[in-house]
């Protein structure tokens, strides 16, 4: 079995973000990390690998040279190898552009499963898994909270408002996972050291069958028109209880009733 885990290098969620004049994110000025949701997909891939002898898990990252750091991080969890797609023409691509690049990179690869996080913490479009499946012409099982592989079938529970769906598809398939699916392990020192010597295959746009006319900021299907910083958080209402508990309890109940929670 061969599993591909697409991962993204994103600005640290705790960092203050700045925007470039072209309304793309300033990615150089802030600390970059591995997208948190990708840790769940990596963990899920590793669990399948542990249950299924002979499984190979490969990380795939579209990103500039500095994304090597993110790739090493992903490898340190115990993945087997990496593919990086790096090209100046990629900068500013939207979800569709990136999906087409990932699909291009996978065109010549053998794989049974693509497992990815449901979203990236910087853009949060949640579009990529479904778009990738479309480009690859494969079934998409998105927002999964549970995965089972049985022969050539993947069965998943999908998170839904108010419940979950059980769905299945024939392999190969594209799966996206959400936080509830697992608790990721920590990379061990052994994993960290081993990651330094794992193979990373670097490709450019031409290698993945695309050219600069098809991707990048200028050819994006979507356009960012405006960026507004989040307004500072307003101070909340403070309720002082008199020690009896009744003042606080009443205020809390009134608050919930007023907002129709009760």
């Amino acid at each position: 079995m061969r599993i591909i885990c697409p991962v993204k290098r994103v600005p640290d969620t705790a960092a203050k973000k700045a925007v470039e004049p072209d309304l793309t994110l300033d990615r150089d000025g802030v600390e970059a990390v591995l997208n948190a949701n990708d840790e769940w997909s990596i963990e899920e891939a590793l669990r399948i690998k542990e249950r299924t002898p002979g499984t190979e898990v490969v990380v795939l990252c579209v990103g500039p040279e500095q994304a090597q750091q993110t790739i090493r991080k992903a490898l340190s969890y115990g993945l087997d190898g990496a593919i990086q797609v790096s090209d100046p023409g990629i900068s500013g691509s939207d979800a569709s552009g990136i999906a087409s690049i990932v699909a291009g990179a996978l065109a010549d690869e053998e794989f049974d499963l693509v497992i990815m996080g449901n979203q990236s913490s910087d853009a949060r479009t949640m579009l990529l898994p479904a778009m990738l499946a479309e480009y690859l012409d494969l079934p998409a099982l998105t927002y999964c909270t549970k995965l089972d592989i049985d022969g050539d079938t993947v069965r998943a529970e999908r998170e839904m408002p108010g419940g979950h769906q059980v769905v299945e598809a024939k392999l190969p398939a594209v799966v996206s996972v959400v936080e509830a699916i697992n608790e990721p392990r920590y990379p061990s020192f052994k994993g960290i050291m081993a990651a330094k010597s794992k193979p990373v295959v670097v490709k450019d746009l031409q290698d993945v069958g695309l050219d600069a006319e098809m991707v990048g900021l200028e050819h994006a299907w979507t356009q960012v028109l405006e960026v507004t910083p989040r307004p500072p958080r307003q101070a909340g209402d403070k309720v002082e209880d008199d020690g009896s508990g009744t003042v606080g309890a009443k205020a809390l109940a009134d608050f919930l009733v007023a907002r129709k929670f009760l």
Binding site: Q69, K73, S76, P187, S188, F189, I192, M193, K196
Partner: protein, 389 residues
């Protein structure tokens, strides 16, 4: 000159930070009310610390300083120092149980000097976090002058017979085994006449524990005709003093890092307090009487940092650790104590409360200026390096 922390160590710190947040913080929350009441060393805290130790063993952090041949990571001294610093900087009381050094209860590379069968018996359970040890050098009549120890070991057939008394031994009452230093040749003493033995718990008496200002757990050990088999010598007969000094020297970067992390934590707390607490209609931070001591503390923390990292780097490349190890021990313990004291002052009355963030640290840092070579002893070493003694 390259001051960059190697990428793999940054990645390792990241893993460790997660471990602390995910596994240690919830356990700490369980004992937080006790800690806030100033109660230390309760059964619940001991159990929580043992749980942290077991989990840290499972992940490998606790035994990271041990070589790969016995199941450790063979982590560099710099790597160990960074983990120790981060444990202290987290402010989690239980975080200290997640890393081996500088705690003498953790598995020690000294035990690599045991024959293979005894390594399996004594070292393997230590590596699994199932047991703990202690390092028994100091005696009532021999502290700073450790070569003056009076405990003796005499060969009798297939065994050694130990007689003497150790005191102030960290973890002495609870350890499953003690590494005990004893005189085997009174003529030669430090020059080939002191030997280290591994002695299992039960073979010696622990007449009493001793109460100290910082809640650390020390005890007296008594050897009265204590018999151990001949193969229980650690390393070579006569090499004990050299081993003891080597062990202490190797630990200096870890003690320094522990001081560094503790000082950083105290400063973090004091800075936050100075910004949020108001007096005379302004935040404390607006008064230079408050901000300048904290600025000085920051400058000293950076000096501690680079002295400590440099020592670790020196150890890693196999260079001589003396007198740098003494410089780190002297400077870091002294500066960390002064910094904690300044930070305590910023908290006013709250600084003196057991539930406050600084009080227990200040007491602990005071102890570090005495143990593992008091400050004066390290000044002697530095003076000697200057050709002054």
């Amino acid at each position: 000159m390259d001051f960059a922390i190697p990428e793999e160590l940054t990645a390792l710190r990241d893993s460790f930070a997660r471990f602390l947040e995910r596994e240690v913080r919830p356990l700490e929350a369980g004992v937080a009310p006790e800690l806030a009441r100033g109660e230390a060393g309760t059964p619940a805290q001991r159990e929580a610390a043992a749980e942290v130790r077991r989990r840290a063993c499972r992940e490998g952090f606790y035994t990271a300083h041990m070589p790969e041949s016995v199941g450790g990571w063979g982590l560099s001294a710099l790597g160990v120092a960074l983990l120790v610093e981060d444990a202290a900087r987290s402010g989690l009381t239980l975080a200290g149980a997640a890393v081996g050094p500088p705690n003498p209860a953790a598995p020690s590379p000294l035990l690599l000097g045991l024959p293979p069968a005894l390594r399996d018996r004594y070292l393997a359970p230590l590596m699994a976090g199932a047991t703990t040890m202690c390092f028994a050098l100091t005696e009532p009549e021999a502290g700073s002058d450790a070569a003056a120890i009076r405990t003796t070991a005499r060969r009798d057939g297939d065994s050694w017979v130990l007689d003497g008394r150790k005191h102030y031994i960290t973890n002495g009452a609870r350890a499953d085994l003690a590494v005990v230093f004893a005189v085997t040749d009174p003529e030669r003493r430090a020059r080939g006449g002191i030997t280290a033995f591994v002695v299992p718990r039960g073979a010696y008496a622990v007449p009493r524990t001793q109460a100290v200002i910082d809640d650390s757990d020390i005890a007296e050990l008594v050897f009265d005709g204590t018999r151990v088999p001949a193969d229980h010598v650690v390393g070579e007969v006569g090499q004990g003093f050299r081993q003891a000094m080597g062990f202490l020297d190797a630990g200096r970067a870890a003690i320094g890092a522990h001081c560094l992390g503790t000082a950083e934590w105290c400063l973090d707390q004091a800075v936050a307090h100075a910004r949020s607490r108001t007096a005379f209609g302004r935040p404390l931070a607006a008064f230079q009487g408050v901000s300048f001591p904290l600025a000085e503390s920051k400058a000293e923390i950076e000096a501690m940092r680079w002295l400590t990292y440099h020592l670790a780097w020196q150890v890693d490349r196999g260079g001589p650790a003396t007198p740098d190890s003494s410089i780190v021990k002297l400077f870091d313990t002294d500066r960390a104590y002064q910094i904690a004291d300044r930070c305590l002052q910023v908290f006013g009355g709250q600084g003196l409360l057991a539930e406050g963030p600084i009080e227990a640290r200040l007491r602990h840092l005071r102890v570090l200026r005495v143990v593992e070579g008091a400050s004066e002893v390290h000044k002697l070493v530095i003076a000697r390096a200057l050709g002054l003694a």
